[in-house]
């Protein structure tokens, strides 16, 4: 996915985060959301390794190896930030204290099942990190992903073929083509400019309803 498309998705998601929200950004595409916050909104970003109030990446010569995010990339802290240990970080995650978890995904099902930790026929060691905790514990899970795989196959499916991270947790899906709500099926809330419903349905592996 080009960085242009990624940034377009991230910018679109950022518009929907309300003032005052506590938000965990998953590794990969979701971390870009922090770069696109509308002016005047206070959003508190959480990192699973024990931080609230995560700010933008520092200049290269300002990076502190003790101050990193979930993806192990250097970050900064904003005024009002706090530092805590791993158990507290996951009390926040699992205990429903985060308003939103923004996660990447390989696949999402029409029922909101999420697959984002393991593909089919993967021979490398599996790795799950905090994905299952975030999926099970955040008040809302929003997925940010490309609408189809590199070879054009749908990622939104009737059923996920990859192993699940959690069942029935995804509430919204943001792709480069559409914003889709998961609520008793898939409801298209918005289509990107130049996208029509027939084309969107053709690249989606589960029935869509228009609910603009």
């Amino acid at each position: 996915m080009s960085s242009d498309i990624k940034n377009r998705i991230a910018r679109r998601v950022a518009q929907d985060l309300p003032d005052g929200a506590y938000v965990n950004l998953g590794i990969g595409l979701p971390t870009l959301v922090a770069d696109h916050l509308p002016a005047g909104r206070e959003i508190v970003f959480h990192s699973e390794n024990g931080l609230l109030g995560v700010g933008p990446a520092p200049a290269d010569d300002q990076a502190d190896p003790d101050l990193i995010n979930a993806g192990k990339m250097p970050i900064t802290l904003l005024p009002g930030a706090s530092i805590f240990h791993h158990n507290d970080a996951f009390v926040m995650i699992r205990g429903g204290h985060l308003d939103y978890a923004l996660l990447g995904a390989f696949q999402v099902s029409a029922a909101g099942d999420l697959a984002n930790w393991m593909t089919e026929g993967d021979t490398k060691a599996p790795a799950v990190g905090g994905a299952m905790d975030l999926a099970a514990g955040a008040r809302e899970v929003w997925v940010l992903m490309e609408h189809t795989t590199r070879d054009g196959r749908p990622r939104i499916l009737e059923r996920c073929s990859f192993p699940l991270t959690a069942a029935r947790v995804v509430k919204r899906i943001y792709t480069e083509l559409a914003v889709i709500e998961v609520a008793d099926g898939l409801i298209v809330r918005e289509m990107a400019e130049g996208v029509d419903f027939a084309r969107l349905q053709a690249v989606t592996g589960a029935p869509l309803r228009l609910g603009l």
Binding site: G50, D66, I68, L77, H86, N87, A166, A167
Partner: protein, 221 residues
Amino acid sequence: MIDKIVASAAVALDGIRDGATILVGGFGEAGMPHELLHALIERGSRELTIVTNNAGVGQTGIAALLSAGRVAKIVCSFPRSAGSVLFDELYAKGAVELELVPQGTLSERIRAGAAGIGGFYVKTGVGTLLAEGKEVREIDGETYLFERPIHADAALIKADRADRWGNLTYRASARNFGPVMASAGKVTIVQVREVVALGAIDPEQVVTPGIFVDRVWECGR
């Protein structure tokens, strides 16, 4: 008089047996007790079970321990970080066993071991491959998995400052697993940047109280 300060990493690791289960703090490189791990290699300890978040990066720390063939099993949440080449090789050869645990469950299992709790029910992992073989229970309409505590022979931690009672402070996100692991080791061994006089750490600022700490080695970084 209480004095937990020891003169060297070798003395700090005294008594660690082959086959021990060892908690190792750190998330990525932040908070990783590299110098203690290298002393563990020099000591010759083997057949270790290592409980830690990642499976080592590059050639130092956990990766060096793996490379030296000292690890029989690793219990972790995310062995696939960029640069974790060594673990991938050993795992592909079947030379090291992996128990994959979701990160919050890992942290809570360590806490349960520390707190005298015989297990707990958690929503994380319900309906996934990681639920296989675990008891499932409905509580107030929610489905949970039963998870068991982790008991460890030793914990290796990196902190920032310590006094001779073993009170600790940490630095930024290098805190991560330090406090929970410090409370869980039968023997908790800490490397610190700086040892300060008793009373120099404001009681309000102590993150790990000295009761959890057995040995402190001033590593200087």
